[in-house]
C-alpha cells in the first residue's frame, strides 16, 4: 500500500554537544525487493556517522542522521525524501540504489529542495545533474579492465542477456563498444522483464551459437531461473564463463554455488581484497551488525562509505555546510583510505576515480584475479 511519511528514523548524536547538529539525510530501501542493498547502506551510514561523532564531530558540530525508508517504491520515496528536504531540512542527502529510484528522487532533492545529493551505487553513467555527486562505479570503470580479462579468460563470443530498464541498456552499449574494441563479438543482446522466468529460448541460442562469455545484466527475481537453466543446459560444464558486474558476496546466496562457479565480477571492493582499511571496516561492521546483510560493494555500501567520508572532507575544507561551498570543495575531494583503497573526485565531473578489482566466484566465495593499475577514471561528464 502507498502510505505517506514515516519509515523514518532519527539517530541523535550521543553525549552532550554545545553546537547544534549538522543534519545528514539517508534515503535508502530498507524494505522491499532491494532491501538487501538498503540495509547495509543504512548500517554503514550509522557506523560512519557514529565514528565521526566519537572523533569530535565535524566543524565542532555533531552529526544527526535522518533515515528514510524509500521501500523500493518510487512514489512513496518521493514523499519521504520531500520530508527530508523540506521538513527536516537536512544539509545533504545520500542514497537511492536503483537508477529508477535515483531518477525519482533527484529532482525533489536537487531542484525543488536545493540540497546536495550523493548517489552511492554502481550505475549506467550519464548522470550530470549539478549538485548530484556519484560515488559508485561507472560502466568505464567496470568494463575497461574487466572485458579484456574476460576475453583472455573466456573467449571472444559474448551474449548480453539483460533486464529491461535503463541501466542494462546503457551499460550494454558501453560493453559492446569495449568488446568490439578488443576483438570480441556480440552474438546477441536480449531484454527481459525483471520477473521473467522462462529462458529456454535464450539458453538454447547461447548453447547452439557456442557463446564463450555470458555478460549478464538480468537481476533478481529472473536471474536465479536464468542461471539455473543455463547451468542445466551445460554452459558451465562446456567451459563457458559467466560475468555479472553487480555480483558481490551477498549475491552469492541467490543461486547454488555450483551454478555460478567461475563467475567473474568487477567491483571497487571485495572482502578478499584483504586491505587494512577494508578489514577494519568489516570487523567493526560485523561487530555492530552481526548476522545482518554483509558489507559489500554491490549493495552500494562501499559507495555510501566513500560518499560520507568524501563529504566530510569537503565540509572540512569548505568550513561550511552550505550547498554551494561544499559542492565546490567536493568537486576535488579526496580520501586517502577506504575499502579497496582511497578515492578522489575527478574535478568537473562529479564522479570518483578508484581502484577496481576483478574477482571470480570459487566454491561459494570470491577470489581476486586482477587488480587495476591504480585508480580507474570514471569517464563521465567530461
Amino acid at each position: 500500500m502507498v502510505a505517506l511519511g514515516a519509515g523514518s528514523y532519527l539517530y541523535n548524536p550521543r553525549g552532550g554537544w554545545a553546537a547544534d547538529p549538522i543534519k545528514v539525510g539517508v534515503a535508502t530501501d530498507i524494505t522491499g525487493p532491494i532491501s538487501w542493498g538498503g540495509i547495509p547502506n543504512a548500517n554503514i551510514a550509522r557506523m560512519v556517522i557514529d565514528d565521526i561523532n566519537t572523533s569530535g564531530g565535524l566543524l565542532g558540530r555533531p552529526l544527526q542522521m535522518y533515515l528514510e525508508d524509500t521501500a523500493t517504491n518510487e512514489a512513496l520515496a518521493v514523499t519521504r525524501v520531500r520530508k527530508l528536504v523540506t521538513q527536516d531540512r537536512v544539509d545533504v542527502v545520500l542514497g537511492g540504489i536503483t537508477s529508477s529510484m535515483r531518477n525519482a528522487i533527484k529532482d525533489t532533492i536537487v531542484n525543488r529542495g536545493k540540497t546536495l545529493y550523493i548517489y552511492p551505487q554502481l550505475y549506467e553513467g550519464k548522470e550530470c545533474t549539478p549538485y548530484l555527486f556519484c560515488t559508485g562505479p561507472t560502466p568505464a570503470q567496470q568494463c575497461d579492465t574487466f572485458i579484456p580479462w574476460l576475453i583472455r579468460n573466456g573467449g571472444t563470443r559474448f551474449y548480453l542477456p539483460s533486464a529491461d530498464y535503463v541501466w542494462p541498456h546503457v551499460l550494454n552499449a558501453y560493453a559492446r563498444k569495449t568488446i568490439e574494441q578488443h576483438g570480441g563479438e556480440v552474438v546477441d543482446e536480449e531484454y527481459f522483464p525483471v520477473d521473467h522466468n522462462d529462458y529456454g529460448a535464450t539458453v538454447n541460442k547461447i548453447m547452439s551459437n557456442k557463446v564463450n562469455v555470458v555478460f549478464n545484466t538480468t537481476i533478481p527475481p529472473g536471474l536465479a531461473a536464468f542461471f539455473k537453466q543455463l547451468y542445466e543446459a551445460g554452459f558451465n560444464r562446456n567451459g563457458g564463463r559467466l560475468a555479472c558486474v553487480y555480483y558481490d558476496e551477498n549475491a552469492l546466496n541467490i543461486t547454488p554455488a555450483n551454478e555460478i562457479e567461475g563467475l567473474g565480477s568487477c567491483l571497487d571492493y571485495f572482502k578478499a581484497v584483504n586491505d587494512p582499511a577494508g578489514n577494519k571496516l568489516q570487523a567493526e561492521y560485523s561487530r555492530l551488525y552481526p548476522g545482518s546483510i554483509l558489507f559489500t560493494a554491490g549493495s552500494a555500501a562501499t559507495g555510501m562509505y566513500r560518499g560520507l567520508k568524501l563529504w566530510e572532507a569537503a565540509v572540512k575544507e569548505a568550513k561550511s555546510v552550505k550547498r554551494e561551498d561544499v559542492a565546490k570543495a567536493l568537486d576535488h575531494a579526496k580520501i586517502a583510505d577506504g575499502p579497496g583503497g582511497g578515492s578522489q573526485f575527478v574535478p568537473g565531473t562529479r564522479h570518483v576515480k578508484m581502484n577496481m578489482y576483478t574477482a571470480v566466484a570459487k566454491g561459494g566465495t570470491f577470489e581476486i584475479v586482477a587488480k587495476s593499475n591504480g585508480p580507474v577514471m570514471p569517464g563521465e561528464c567530461g
Partner: protein, 351 residues
C-alpha cells in the same frame, strides 16, 4: 418513469447525513493549510488528488455498476501524456495540460469501451473486472519496457505547472488549486447523480434487464459513465504527476488500480463523499502505521482492510449514513448485499 431521487427521504423524520458530512469536510479542507505545516499540506494535496481518482471509481462502480480494476490506466496514461508534453514540447501551462489529460482519459476509455463493454454479448461483471485489470497490467508492462517513456525509470524531473508565467508551486498554492478542481468535479458529479442520466444509471445498476426492456440502451449509458470516469481519472493523473515531479509505470498498474477500489470500499460505495473519506483515512492510517512498524505495517493494513471488507462492506460511511441515503440504493436494495448467482448457474442473459 422513475421518480426523482428526492423521494429517498420518504423515511419521514430521518435527517439527511450526507450534506452535513460534505459541509464538514469542505470546511476542514478549506482551513487545513493555515493550521498545519508544509509537510502536511503536501500530504493533504496528495489526498485531494488521489481523491479524484477514488471519485472516478465511485462513479463507475457505485453509480454505473462497472467494477473497474483499471482506473489507474487512465490516471497513468494521462500522467505520461502530460509529462511527455511538458518535457518534449515544453508545454507547462495548466490551461493546456489539464484539458489534454481529460482528453487522454476519454480516448483511453473509448478504447476500453470497445474492447470490453461492447461486443456481441453483454459482458459479465467478472469479465469487466478482469478485463480492466488486465488492461492496467498490460499497459504497465509496456511502459516498463519502452525506453522512449523512460522504461522502468519513468520520466523524472517534471517542470512545474504554470499559468502564464506564474509557477504553481507545490504547497498551499497547489493545494488550493487541487481543492478547487476537486470541488468542481464533485459538484458536477452530485448534480449528475440527481439528473435523469443518474437515475437511468441507478436503474441499470439495480435491474439491468428491466431497463433494457424499457428501451434504454444500457451499454451506451454504461459506456458514457465509464468514459466520464476515465476523464476524471485522467485529470487526477496529470495533477499527481506534476505535484510529485515525476511519472512512472507504477502510476499505471494494478497496484494503484486496486488501491482505488480499496479506498472507495473502505470509505463507502455510492456516496461520493465516502470515496474522499476513504482516501484520507487510509492514507493517514498507513502513515501512522508505518511509523510504528517499519517492515510489517503492510500486513496490518491488509488485515484491517480484510476486516472492513468482511464485516463492514458498506464502508466507514455505513456508520454515519443510513442505508436509504446512499444514492446507490433505492428502497432496501444495495449493490453489495445483492446475491449474485455463482458463475456456473444458468442465467437467461449469459451464454
Amino acid at each position: 418513469m422513475i421518480r426523482s431521487a428526492s423521494s429517498a427521504d420518504t423515511s419521514g423524520r430521518q435527517r439527511r447525513a450526507i450534506p452535513w458530512i460534505e459541509a464538514l469536510l469542505l470546511a476542514a479542507f478549506a482551513v487545513l493549510p493555515v493550521l498545519v505545516d508544509d509537510f502536511w499540506v503536501l500530504f493533504a494535496t496528495r489526498v485531494l488528488i488521489v481523491g479524484l481518482l477514488a471519485l472516478s471509481f465511485d462513479l463507475v462502480w457505485g453509480y454505473a455498476g462497472i467494477l473497474s480494476f483499471g482506473q489507474a490506466l487512465f490516471f497513468g496514461m494521462a500522467g505520461y501524456s502530460c509529462a511527455l508534453l511538458a518535457t518534449k514540447l515544453e508545454i507547462t501551462s495548466i490551461l493546456v495540460l489539464l484539458p489534454a489529460a481529460v482528453v487522454v482519459g476519454f480516448l483511453v476509455a473509448l478504447i476500453m469501451n470497445f474492447l470490453i463493454l461492447f461486443g456481441k454479448r453483454i459482458p459479465t461483471p467478472i469479465f469487466i473486472a478482469l478485463g480492466t485489470l488486465t488492461g492496467s497490467y498490460v499497459v504497465e508492462r509496456l511502459a516498463r519496457g519502452w525506453s522512449y517513456v523512460g522504461g522502468q525509470n519513468g520520466i523524472p524531473s517534471l517542470p512545474r505547472l504554470t499559468i502564464g508565467s506564474y509557477e504553481i508551486v507545490e504547497g498551499r498554492v497547489f493545494y488550493y488549486a487541487a481543492l478547487a478542481i476537486l470541488l468542481l468535479v464533485y459538484v458536477g458529479l452530485r448534480w449528475l447523480s440527481r439528473s435523469q442520466f443518474g437515475l437511468v444509471l441507478a436503474g441499470i445498476r439495480l435491474r439491468e434487464p428491466r431497463m433494457a426492456f424499457f428501451g434504454y440502451r444500457v451499454q451506451s449509458y454504461k459506456a458514457v459513465a465509464f468514459a466520464l470516469g476515465g476523464m476524471i481519472a485522467g485529470l487526477s493523473g496529470c495533477l499527481y504527476a506534476f505535484h510529485e515531479g515525476y511519472v512512472g509505470p507504477g502510476q499505471l498498474g494494478p497496484v494503484l488500480s486496486t488501491q482505488a477500489v480499496l479506498y472507495v470500499l473502505f470509505g463507502g460505495v455510492g456516496t461520493l463523499v465516502g470515496a474522499l473519506l476513504g482516501v484520507g483515512i487510509v492514507d493517514l492510517f498507513s502513515y501512522v502505521l508505518s511509523q510504528q512498524w517499519e517492515t510489517g505495517w503492510p500486513i496490518v493494513l491488509g488485515l484491517l482492510l480484510l476486516v472492513v471488507v468482511m464485516f463492514r462492506p458498506k464502508g466507514l460511511i455505513g456508520f454515519l449514513v443510513p442505508e436509504r441515503e446512499r444514492v446507490g440504493s433505492f428502497g432496501s436494495r444495495s449493490l453489495i448485499g445483492k446475491r449474485q448467482p455463482p458463475v456456473g448457474a444458468t442465467d437467461p442473459l449469459r451464454p
